[in-house]
């Protein structure tokens, strides 16, 4: 069989996933998770103290997320593994040899899937590192009240909050799924910005900048509208408490508001590349 014949042997997805997940940047991701935990632990030492504040593993992760700088760096963090690869392929012109073998559509689909998965998995890895770091005295999922380290300690806010009180292990799964979706969304957003600006440093700073601006505007409003709480998806237990009741639909809608324009932008730019 010869090259490119009817594209019967198109393994571009496998290649893209390999490029996304077999790269040394994942070491950096794990290190960032450790550093974030250390920052959280430094600010709130009781994170690892079983029983006193955090009654279970889920609670300890929530405290570690809240007291670390995760919220600040998260729009950048999800871009580290692979979000610059589309721009890099275009700028290095490696894309020509890739699409010649895979076809343009398959290349783009595989690329976006690999970027999205790498962004999602990146946050899952960071949370996993934080869970393990904060569980030096063991993992447990006892039911109880959510300890925030602040005055009003009650159940967390946001979707599935009641799960925390009854089945904290399931609530932990929900936090991981939320983080995964958040990573998918913002990694593609960063990719879209990088190809718009044709510069990964400028492009990657846009999500970080917008994240801070939107949050700043949101905080200055009372009550803070749901669409101006960019952290809702990552830390629903915290972000929601600023305004009260929220549901999962709004959380998903917020992802879509970022995700859809990002995909459209990438599609349009790739179309213009195709015409050149």
């Amino acid at each position: 069989m010869k090259i490119n014949e009817e594209k019967t042997n198109n393994h571009i997805l496998k290649v893209e996933l390999r490029r996304a997940f077999q790269n040394p940047r994942w070491i950096l991701i794990v290190l960032v998770g450790v550093v974030l935990f250390i920052i959280g632990k430094t600010r709130f030492p009781q994170i690892t103290v079983t029983g006193e504040y955090a009654i279970n593993t889920t609670n300890r992760l929530m405290l570690a997320m809240h007291y670390s700088e995760l919220a600040f760096i998260v729009p950048l963090l999800v871009l580290i593994p692979y979000a610059d690869s589309l721009l890099s392929d275009i700028q290095s012109r490696a894309i020509d040899f890739l699409v010649f073998r895979s076809g343009r559509k398959d290349y783009l689909r595989s690329k976006l899937l690999a970027i999205a998965l790498s962004g999602g998995v990146c946050l899952v890895v960071v949370l996993l590192v934080m869970v393990l770091s904060s569980s030096v005295y063991g993992i447990n999922f006892k039911s109880g009240i959510y300890a925030t380290g602040m005055v009003n300690e009650t159940e967390p806010f946001g979707p599935f909050s009641a799960l925390f009180m009854t089945k904290p292990a399931l609530y932990l799964v929900y936090l991981f799924v939320s983080a995964f979706l958040f990573g998918i969304t913002y990694s593609l957003f960063g990719t879209a910005m990088s190809v718009i600006f044709k510069n990964k440093f400028i492009g990657f700073s846009v999500p970080l900048f917008l994240f801070q601006i939107v949050d700043f505007i949101g905080v200055s409003m009372n009550p803070q509208p749901w669409y101006l709480i960019p952290l809702r998806g990552l830390m629903p237990f915290n972000a929601a408490c600023k305004v009260g009741d929220h549901d999962l639909l709004l959380q998903l809608l917020q992802y879509l508001i970022v995700l859809l324009p990002s995909l459209i932008i990438i599609g349009l730019i790739m179309k213009s590349y195709e015409k050149k």
Binding site: M1, K2, I3, N4, E5, E6, N9, N10, H11, I12, K14, V15, R18, R19, S88, D89, S92, R93, A94, I95, D96, F97, L98, V99, F100, R101, S102, G103, R104, K275, K276
Partner: protein, 222 residues
């Protein structure tokens, strides 16, 4: 003797803005030959090659490669190896890794064939240096290895020996002839009459957006 046409380009028109690059160009290439497309720099040789490879769509006309219409029946031509102008690679990976990833996409080049292709063009398959540190000549050699590693029937090369020294050019010419003798069809662009005379059976000059066949070439590949 009639032989199967590998390339049939008919009535190709291409303009960028008001600048007409190709104006009703026709081009046919039978199998098992080496043909050269010649012309001054900037005349449109690379544009023509990009149209043949499916990277650019002509404003008018059709390109058939192996009987299939490029851009309609197939997005890119099958069984074709290409070396386009300014070839690009994954800059932080070695030459071997670059080719290995490309070979995995098509599934048509394994470790053995990639290593053999690299050695054939004078590159060390075990060289771990990232491609971004390669010289122009090394990049060109890597591009050639990439073009031949999947054993394609047709090889389209844009200025394949640019950036190579005299000895390397001779080596490449010998490689082209060897590939031709194996039944491959090679079309390459060049602005060097000497190079054209060394390897090609026919030379076509791109003038005013059309190809004009040169009366005779000197070397005829022998």
């Amino acid at each position: 003797m009639t032989s199967t046409l590998i390339i049939e380009a008919k009535n190709i028109h291409k303009a960028f803005g008001k600048r007409i690059i190709l104006d009703g160009l026709n081009f046919e290439v039978p199998e098992g030959v080496i043909h050269a497309i010649c012309g001054k720099n900037g005349i449109g040789k690379s544009v023509l090659l990009r149209i043949l490879t499916g990277f650019i769509r002509p404003d008018q006309g059709s390109v058939r490669i192996h009987g299939k219409r490029v851009g309609k029946e197939v997005e890119f031509p099958g069984s074709t190896g290409i070396l386009i102008d300014r070839p690009g690679y994954m800059p932080d990976s070695s030459g071997y890794t670059n080719l290995s990833l490309l070979g995995q996409i098509s599934g048509l080049a394994d470790e053995k064939t990639i290593r053999a292709s690299l050695e054939l063009v004078g590159l060390d398959p075990d060289d771990k240096k990232p491609v971004r540190t390669y010289s122009v000549g090394m990049l060109q050699r890597l591009g050639l290895a990439q073009a031949i590693m999947e054993d394609p029937q047709l090889i389209l090369l844009d200025e394949p020996t640019s950036g190579l020294d005299y000895e390397s050019q001779i080596e490449m010419h010998e490689l082209f002839l060897k590939l031709r003798d194996q039944g491959k069809t090679i079309v390459f662009t060049s602005h060097s009459p000497w190079e054209v005379s060394q390897v090609s059976e026919k030379a076509f000059w791109l003038v005013d957006g059309k190809l004009q066949e040169e009366a005779a070439t000197h070397g005829n590949g022998k």
